[in-house]
Amino acid sequence: VHVPKKDVAVSIATGHGTSALAAALAPKHFGLLQRVVNHRADYLYVLPALVVMMIVIAFPVYYTVELSFFKTPANLQMKDKIFVGLDNYVTVLTNESIRAVTVNTLIWTIASTFFAFLLGLGAALALHREFMGRGVLRAVLLIPYVVSAVAASYVWKWLYHSDFGAIGALAVALGLTDKPINFLDNLHTVLPSLIVVNIWKEFSFAMIMLMAGLQTVPDQLLRAAQVDGANAWQRFWHVTFPHLKNVSMVTLLLLMVANFNSFIIPWIMTGGGPAGASDIWITQIYQLAFGRQRWGLASAYSVVLFIVMMTLGYFYVKALTRGDESRAG
């Protein structure tokens, strides 16, 4: 495939606009068709991936939006669905439980993200210096991130067990409480308990990202700062931290998206209970769709969630592709 020099230059130039997406979509210059024809062979490489993605991504998104305007029968024979306009959206947004669920979702997402990031940052800074056993330690800390969330949920469910749980017994043995705490059946302790599990599972992701980010901090700069009399904190704040900004943004966004979408830990450990105290958006949607077979309503929920995610996604792509377009092929 012949790639004319001029075209390369043009696509780089268009990619630099404020919205690269819009730039790619809009026929910025005369002869777009000509360029498509010139590059027709290139599409062959992407075609297999695209076809599969179309079936399994474009169709579901379209279908979810469609279903959200219908009342669906409980037997899931979709030919019997009834058009109800925006009714499902009205139900979603005026539902009395939506406030509690949204608050839970926000607490869950923000607390998990914040603490996972904080622990990850601390670990990355502490692990940055070479010492004996550093590699082993890093590997061990990463294990929770690798194991299945189902496994993690059962292990922690057992740790939190109201009668025979190790944590409750430990608290009694250390004299912190008189009798074992019922972590998961208490309206006030259930959400924090689940958040701890989530942090356990994902803090090492933040750690590994930030460790990679720390490697981009030039050593000379740190030494220069030291020569100039900067103390450890000043070196961190004025030299290290600015270099971590980009990685931190991406890490925080990825954690946020993952937490917003997480389902397994609350579902396996409590199923959203007790009395909805650990119900988040995803568990709510799942319960509506597969517990109560109300797919129209669940679809409307999904669409609202989807819009929130797309907003986050916009920032994710922006943070991620910064500088990507300058690499020409």
Partner: protein, 286 residues
């Protein structure tokens, strides 16, 4: 950073060590408790205060799960095999499809390329539940419910954007001059790709493979919706159904979660370097 040794006490270093010790305990204790519990009889596990160390350690929970002559073992091995089959198939097909796409994204500038690339990336933003309902109907329509094809197809699609993204990062790092040299020597573009680029991107392929294998092995949400027959279940769903049936067999569940974790943890420990690279590739650029 060696200059820190000059100071009498480096508080930063020491607080760092204390912090790491705390994290190590936080990480390891739950896993340790899982293993210790799996070595107890059901009776020994359900005691208060708990036996911190199993008084009469037993392997009965493991032998029960791994023995094909009883029904529990039969099911467990079946689920294990199902998980393995789905994960390997997903990984192999995924890598084969992702390689040409990633190469195209890295090397060619075709109209709409940026847009295509973003649509690939944005997939990672979609919550699984958005896809759950339509895909279930799609699978039902295609007659794939309770078959492993439904899972392979789904994992494949959802793994692809990430695989393409990871592999593209690796291709970006292979100098295009190498290919150009091969082309000058008379190789076709395809030959240059197969003979020069593919071997050089082996680390990328390994990294991508571990990632999609672990992802498929651990997946629960789609598996729990798509699989309805007992024989078709994968491990995460199988363990959940088992627990729903025998809610007090904690040592058995701990043994099962241990066995379920072994393949991914071993894979991760052996190929750690690639895994870490895959995790950070793309997100960290100088």
């Amino acid at each position: 950073m060696s200059t820190a040794a000059r100071k009498p006490i480096d508080w930063w270093r020491w607080s760092g060590r204390v912090f790491l010790l705390f994290l190590l305990i936080f990480t390891v204790l739950p896993m340790l408790w899982m293993v210790l519990t799996s070595l107890k009889s059901q009776f020994a596990a359900m005691q208060y205060p708990p036996q911190w160390w199993p008084a009469e350690p037993t392997l009965e929970n493991y032998t029960k799960l791994l023995d094909p002559s009883n029904s529990v073992g039969q099911e467990f091995l079946r689920y294990f095999w199902n998980s393995l089959y789905v994960s390997v198939a997903t990984t192999v097909i995924g890598v084969v499809v992702a390689i040409p796409a990633a190469y195209a994204f890295s090397r060619f500038r075709f109209p709409g390329r940026t847009f295509l690339f973003f649509s690939v990336l944005l997939r990672n933003m979609f919550p699984a539940v958005v896809f759950l309902m339509p895909l279930f109907l799609l699978m039902r329509w295609m007659g794939l419910v309770s078959t492993h094809y439904s899972l392979i197809l789904t994992y494949l699609t959802f793994g692809l954007p990430l695989s393409i993204w990871l592999l593209k990062g690796f291709y970006d790092n292979i100098p295009i001059q190498l290919e150009q040299a091969a082309r000058i020597d008379g190789a076709t573009r395809f030959q240059a790709f197969v003979l020069i680029v593919l071997p050089l991107s082996t680390p990328g392929i390994i990294a991508t493979s571990i990632f999609s294998f672990i992802g498929a092995w651990n997946e629960f949400v789609y598996a729990t919706v798509f699989l309805n027959t007992k024989d078709s279940l994968t491990l995460p769903v199988g363990i959940q159904r088992y627990f729903a049936e025998f809610a007090t067999d904690w040592p058995g569940v701990m043994a099962a979660t241990f066995l379920m974790s072994v393949p991914v943890v071993v894979l991760f420990l052996v190929l750690q370097k690639y895994f870490v690279r895959a995790l950070t590739e793309g997100a960290v650029k100088s």
